[in-house]
Protein backbone atom coordinates (compact mmCIF):
# COMPACT_ATOMS: atom_id res chain seq x y z
CA UNK A 1 0.00 0.00 0.00
CA UNK A 2 1.40 3.38 -1.02
CA UNK A 3 0.51 6.64 0.65
CA UNK A 4 -0.71 7.92 -2.75
CA UNK A 5 -3.52 5.39 -2.57
CA UNK A 6 -5.10 7.45 0.20
CA UNK A 7 -5.15 10.47 -2.04
CA UNK A 8 -7.53 8.86 -4.51
CA UNK A 9 -10.92 10.43 -4.32
CA UNK A 10 -14.08 8.44 -3.69
CA UNK A 11 -15.25 8.40 -7.28
CA UNK A 12 -11.96 6.91 -8.52
CA UNK A 13 -12.00 4.32 -5.76
CA UNK A 14 -15.57 3.43 -6.50
CA UNK A 15 -15.08 3.09 -10.23
CA UNK A 16 -11.94 0.97 -9.73
CA UNK A 17 -13.77 -1.23 -7.30
CA UNK A 18 -16.78 -1.56 -9.59
CA UNK A 19 -14.46 -2.32 -12.52
CA UNK A 20 -12.80 -5.11 -10.56
CA UNK A 21 -16.13 -6.54 -9.51
CA UNK A 22 -17.45 -6.30 -13.03
CA UNK A 23 -14.36 -8.08 -14.36
CA UNK A 24 -14.70 -10.86 -11.81
CA UNK A 25 -18.37 -11.51 -12.39
CA UNK A 26 -18.02 -11.24 -16.18
CA UNK A 27 -15.26 -13.82 -16.20
CA UNK A 28 -17.12 -15.96 -13.65
CA UNK A 29 -20.31 -15.96 -15.72
CA UNK A 30 -18.35 -16.65 -18.91
CA UNK A 31 -16.83 -19.78 -17.38
CA UNK A 32 -20.24 -20.98 -16.21
CA UNK A 33 -21.76 -20.41 -19.64
CA UNK A 34 -18.77 -22.14 -21.30
CA UNK A 35 -19.25 -25.25 -19.16
CA UNK A 36 -22.98 -25.23 -19.92
CA UNK A 37 -22.34 -25.11 -23.65
CA UNK A 38 -19.88 -28.03 -23.49
CA UNK A 39 -22.31 -30.21 -21.53
CA UNK A 40 -25.21 -29.32 -23.82
CA UNK A 41 -23.12 -30.52 -26.77
CA UNK A 42 -22.86 -34.04 -25.37
CA UNK A 43 -24.79 -36.51 -27.49
CA UNK A 44 -26.42 -39.77 -26.34
CA UNK A 45 -23.73 -42.30 -25.31
CA UNK A 46 -21.13 -39.55 -25.01
CA UNK A 47 -19.22 -41.58 -22.41
CA UNK A 48 -19.26 -44.90 -24.28
CA UNK A 49 -21.41 -46.35 -21.48
CA UNK A 50 -24.83 -45.15 -22.57
CA UNK A 51 -24.50 -41.70 -21.01
CA UNK A 52 -27.56 -39.57 -21.78
CA UNK A 53 -27.63 -36.06 -23.13
CA UNK A 54 -28.50 -33.19 -20.80
CA UNK A 55 -31.49 -30.88 -20.65
CA UNK A 56 -30.90 -27.17 -21.08
CA UNK A 57 -33.37 -26.56 -18.28
CA UNK A 58 -31.28 -28.57 -15.78
CA UNK A 59 -28.13 -26.72 -16.83
CA UNK A 60 -29.89 -23.37 -16.54
CA UNK A 61 -30.94 -24.26 -13.00
CA UNK A 62 -27.40 -25.34 -12.09
CA UNK A 63 -25.93 -22.15 -13.55
CA UNK A 64 -28.49 -20.01 -11.75
CA UNK A 65 -27.63 -21.73 -8.47
CA UNK A 66 -23.92 -20.97 -8.92
CA UNK A 67 -24.53 -17.36 -9.91
CA UNK A 68 -26.95 -16.71 -7.06
CA UNK A 69 -24.68 -18.35 -4.51
CA UNK A 70 -21.65 -16.34 -5.62
CA UNK A 71 -23.68 -13.13 -5.54
CA UNK A 72 -25.14 -13.77 -2.08
CA UNK A 73 -21.71 -14.70 -0.74
CA UNK A 74 -20.28 -11.48 -2.11
CA UNK A 75 -23.18 -9.44 -0.73
CA UNK A 76 -22.76 -10.97 2.71
CA UNK A 77 -18.97 -10.90 2.92
CA UNK A 78 -17.69 -8.65 0.10
CA UNK A 79 -15.51 -11.61 -0.84
CA UNK A 80 -15.50 -13.39 -4.16
CA UNK A 81 -15.64 -17.12 -4.64
CA UNK A 82 -13.80 -18.73 -7.55
CA UNK A 83 -15.81 -20.37 -10.29
CA UNK A 84 -16.48 -24.08 -9.76
CA UNK A 85 -15.99 -26.99 -12.10
CA UNK A 86 -19.31 -27.94 -13.64
CA UNK A 87 -19.58 -31.57 -14.73
CA UNK A 88 -22.20 -33.90 -16.14
CA UNK A 89 -23.76 -35.85 -13.28
CA UNK A 90 -25.52 -39.21 -13.11
CA UNK A 91 -29.05 -39.65 -14.49
CA UNK A 92 -29.22 -36.27 -16.22
CA UNK A 93 -28.13 -34.34 -13.12
CA UNK A 94 -25.37 -31.73 -12.95
CA UNK A 95 -22.39 -31.86 -10.59
CA UNK A 96 -20.88 -28.59 -9.35
CA UNK A 97 -17.57 -28.84 -7.54
CA UNK A 98 -15.42 -26.36 -5.70
CA UNK A 99 -12.16 -28.04 -4.80
CA UNK A 100 -9.11 -26.29 -3.45
CA UNK A 101 -6.54 -26.81 -0.70
CA UNK A 102 -9.01 -25.73 2.00
CA UNK A 103 -12.17 -27.62 1.14
CA UNK A 104 -13.89 -29.91 -1.33
CA UNK A 105 -17.58 -29.27 -2.05
CA UNK A 106 -19.76 -31.25 -4.42
CA UNK A 107 -23.28 -30.07 -5.17
CA UNK A 108 -25.61 -32.18 -7.31
CA UNK A 109 -28.55 -30.57 -9.11
CA UNK A 110 -31.03 -33.27 -10.19
CA UNK A 111 -32.77 -33.29 -13.54
CA UNK A 112 -36.17 -33.26 -11.85
CA UNK A 113 -37.04 -29.87 -10.40
CA UNK A 114 -39.19 -31.51 -7.73
CA UNK A 115 -36.28 -33.51 -6.31
CA UNK A 116 -34.07 -31.90 -3.72
CA UNK A 117 -30.51 -30.99 -4.62
CA UNK A 118 -27.75 -32.55 -2.52
CA UNK A 119 -24.36 -31.42 -1.30
CA UNK A 120 -21.35 -32.78 0.54
CA UNK A 121 -18.31 -30.89 1.69
CA UNK A 122 -15.32 -31.43 3.93
CA UNK A 123 -12.10 -29.69 4.88
CA UNK A 124 -9.94 -32.83 4.37
CA UNK A 125 -9.92 -33.29 8.13
CA UNK A 126 -12.75 -33.92 10.56
CA UNK A 127 -15.20 -31.24 9.54
CA UNK A 128 -17.86 -32.31 7.08
CA UNK A 129 -21.31 -31.13 6.08
CA UNK A 130 -23.82 -32.75 3.80
CA UNK A 131 -27.51 -32.44 3.16
CA UNK A 132 -30.29 -31.58 0.78
CA UNK A 133 -31.93 -28.35 -0.27
CA UNK A 134 -34.84 -26.98 -2.23
CA UNK A 135 -33.48 -25.92 -5.60
CA UNK A 136 -35.24 -22.57 -5.30
CA UNK A 137 -33.52 -21.65 -2.04
CA UNK A 138 -29.99 -21.35 -0.75
CA UNK A 139 -29.25 -23.81 2.05
CA UNK A 140 -28.01 -21.82 5.10
CA UNK A 141 -25.69 -24.61 6.25
CA UNK A 142 -24.00 -24.65 2.86
CA UNK A 143 -23.92 -20.85 2.76
CA UNK A 144 -22.26 -20.38 6.15
CA UNK A 145 -19.91 -23.32 5.52
CA UNK A 146 -18.65 -21.55 2.39
CA UNK A 147 -18.23 -18.24 4.18
CA UNK A 148 -15.71 -19.96 6.46
CA UNK A 149 -13.47 -20.60 3.48
CA UNK A 150 -13.67 -17.29 1.64
Amino acid sequence: MHTEDFKLNDSILESTWIDELHKHFTSFYKEIEGAKAKILNLQENWDGEGGKSYNKETLDRAAEFVKKLSFYLWRQTQKLISSPNIFPGPDGSIDIRWKNNKFDLLVNIPENLNETATFSSDDYEKNTVKGTFDQNKINPVLFYWLIEFL
Binding site: F87, G89, P90
Partner: protein
Amino acid sequence: MNCPIEIILDKDFLYRRVHNNLLLISRNFDEIPPYAFKDNNGISTEWNKYSTPEETRQRALDPKKNSVINIKVEIVRQFQNLSVNHAPIPLNRAHSNINGLKTYKNEDQTDIRKRLSRAAEWIIKASLTT
Protein backbone atom coordinates in the same frame (compact mmCIF):
# COMPACT_ATOMS: atom_id res chain seq x y z
CA MET B 1 -15.47 -71.06 -20.81
CA ASN B 2 -16.90 -69.74 -17.56
CA CYS B 3 -14.30 -68.28 -15.26
CA PRO B 4 -14.74 -68.93 -11.55
CA ILE B 5 -15.79 -66.05 -9.34
CA GLU B 6 -12.97 -65.20 -6.97
CA ILE B 7 -12.55 -63.14 -3.82
CA ILE B 8 -11.00 -59.72 -4.42
CA LEU B 9 -8.61 -58.70 -1.66
CA ASP B 10 -8.49 -55.29 0.03
CA LYS B 11 -4.94 -54.74 -1.18
CA ASP B 12 -5.96 -55.12 -4.83
CA PHE B 13 -6.77 -52.34 -7.26
CA LEU B 14 -9.64 -51.67 -9.63
CA TYR B 15 -9.24 -49.96 -12.99
CA ARG B 16 -12.00 -47.90 -14.54
CA ARG B 17 -12.23 -46.15 -17.87
CA VAL B 18 -13.06 -42.45 -18.04
CA HIS B 19 -14.13 -41.05 -21.39
CA ASN B 20 -12.16 -38.04 -22.57
CA ASN B 21 -15.40 -36.13 -23.18
CA LEU B 22 -15.55 -35.84 -19.42
CA LEU B 23 -12.01 -34.45 -19.23
CA LEU B 24 -12.67 -31.93 -21.97
CA ILE B 25 -15.41 -30.37 -19.86
CA SER B 26 -13.17 -29.94 -16.85
CA ARG B 27 -11.10 -26.82 -16.25
CA ASN B 28 -8.62 -28.89 -14.30
CA PHE B 29 -7.44 -32.01 -16.06
CA ASP B 30 -5.89 -33.37 -12.86
CA GLU B 31 -9.24 -33.57 -11.12
CA ILE B 32 -11.14 -36.84 -11.48
CA PRO B 33 -14.79 -35.92 -12.05
CA PRO B 34 -17.29 -37.51 -9.62
CA TYR B 35 -19.15 -38.82 -12.68
CA ALA B 36 -16.36 -41.40 -12.93
CA PHE B 37 -18.24 -43.22 -10.16
CA LYS B 38 -21.65 -43.18 -11.78
CA ASP B 39 -23.67 -46.24 -10.74
CA ASN B 40 -25.17 -47.91 -13.80
CA ASN B 41 -26.45 -51.16 -12.25
CA GLY B 42 -23.16 -51.21 -10.39
CA ILE B 43 -19.94 -49.40 -11.22
CA SER B 44 -18.12 -51.46 -13.81
CA THR B 45 -14.40 -51.89 -13.20
CA GLU B 46 -11.54 -54.30 -13.93
CA TRP B 47 -9.51 -56.16 -11.32
CA ASN B 48 -5.75 -55.70 -11.52
CA LYS B 49 -5.23 -59.43 -10.97
CA TYR B 50 -6.40 -60.12 -14.53
CA SER B 51 -5.94 -56.83 -16.33
CA THR B 52 -3.47 -54.05 -16.88
CA PRO B 53 -4.45 -50.40 -17.26
CA GLU B 54 -3.69 -50.59 -20.97
CA GLU B 55 -5.81 -53.73 -21.42
CA THR B 56 -8.67 -51.97 -19.63
CA ARG B 57 -8.29 -49.05 -21.98
CA GLN B 58 -8.16 -51.26 -25.04
CA ARG B 59 -11.52 -52.81 -24.15
CA ALA B 60 -13.23 -49.47 -24.75
CA LEU B 61 -15.14 -49.04 -28.01
CA ASP B 62 -12.67 -46.30 -28.90
CA PRO B 63 -9.56 -46.72 -26.74
CA LYS B 64 -7.93 -43.51 -27.92
CA LYS B 65 -10.80 -41.55 -26.39
CA ASN B 66 -10.47 -43.14 -22.96
CA SER B 67 -8.30 -42.64 -19.93
CA VAL B 68 -7.98 -45.05 -16.99
CA ILE B 69 -8.14 -44.42 -13.25
CA ASN B 70 -7.42 -46.82 -10.43
CA ILE B 71 -8.61 -47.11 -6.87
CA LYS B 72 -7.62 -49.42 -4.04
CA VAL B 73 -10.31 -51.94 -3.07
CA GLU B 74 -9.83 -51.22 0.63
CA ILE B 75 -10.92 -47.61 0.11
CA VAL B 76 -14.13 -48.65 -1.59
CA ARG B 77 -14.93 -51.11 1.20
CA GLN B 78 -14.62 -48.39 3.83
CA PHE B 79 -18.17 -47.47 2.85
CA GLN B 80 -20.34 -49.98 4.67
CA ASN B 81 -22.87 -50.63 1.89
CA LEU B 82 -20.37 -50.77 -0.94
CA SER B 83 -19.12 -54.15 -2.04
CA VAL B 84 -16.52 -55.10 -4.63
CA ASN B 85 -17.50 -58.22 -6.52
CA HIS B 86 -15.67 -60.20 -9.15
CA ALA B 87 -18.07 -60.58 -12.10
CA PRO B 88 -16.18 -62.19 -15.01
CA ILE B 89 -17.79 -62.01 -18.41
CA PRO B 90 -16.83 -63.72 -21.68
CA LEU B 91 -13.46 -62.39 -22.88
CA ASN B 92 -12.96 -60.35 -19.73
CA ARG B 93 -11.97 -62.29 -16.63
CA ALA B 94 -11.06 -59.06 -14.85
CA HIS B 95 -14.55 -57.59 -14.91
CA SER B 96 -15.73 -56.61 -11.43
CA ASN B 97 -18.41 -54.37 -10.02
CA ILE B 98 -18.66 -51.89 -7.20
CA ASN B 99 -22.20 -52.45 -5.94
CA GLY B 100 -24.39 -50.69 -3.44
CA LEU B 101 -24.04 -46.97 -4.17
CA LYS B 102 -27.75 -46.58 -4.88
CA THR B 103 -28.69 -48.10 -1.52
CA TYR B 104 -27.57 -44.82 0.06
CA LYS B 105 -29.62 -41.65 0.48
CA ASN B 106 -29.02 -39.13 -2.30
CA GLU B 107 -26.81 -36.84 -0.21
CA ASP B 108 -24.69 -39.82 0.83
CA GLN B 109 -24.31 -40.85 -2.82
CA THR B 110 -23.03 -37.34 -3.56
CA ASP B 111 -20.63 -37.62 -0.62
CA ILE B 112 -19.34 -41.04 -1.69
CA ARG B 113 -18.85 -40.05 -5.33
CA LYS B 114 -16.86 -37.03 -4.13
CA ARG B 115 -14.67 -39.14 -1.84
CA LEU B 116 -14.10 -41.94 -4.35
CA SER B 117 -13.15 -39.47 -7.07
CA ARG B 118 -10.68 -37.90 -4.66
CA ALA B 119 -9.19 -41.24 -3.66
CA ALA B 120 -8.80 -42.49 -7.23
CA GLU B 121 -5.76 -41.72 -9.35
CA TRP B 122 -5.11 -41.33 -13.02
CA ILE B 123 -3.08 -44.23 -14.33
CA ILE B 124 -3.45 -43.54 -18.05
CA LYS B 125 -4.43 -40.11 -19.20
CA ALA B 126 -5.12 -40.08 -22.91
CA SER B 127 -4.00 -37.24 -25.08
CA LEU B 128 -6.90 -34.86 -25.43
CA THR B 129 -5.90 -34.06 -28.98
CA THR B 130 -6.54 -37.58 -30.30
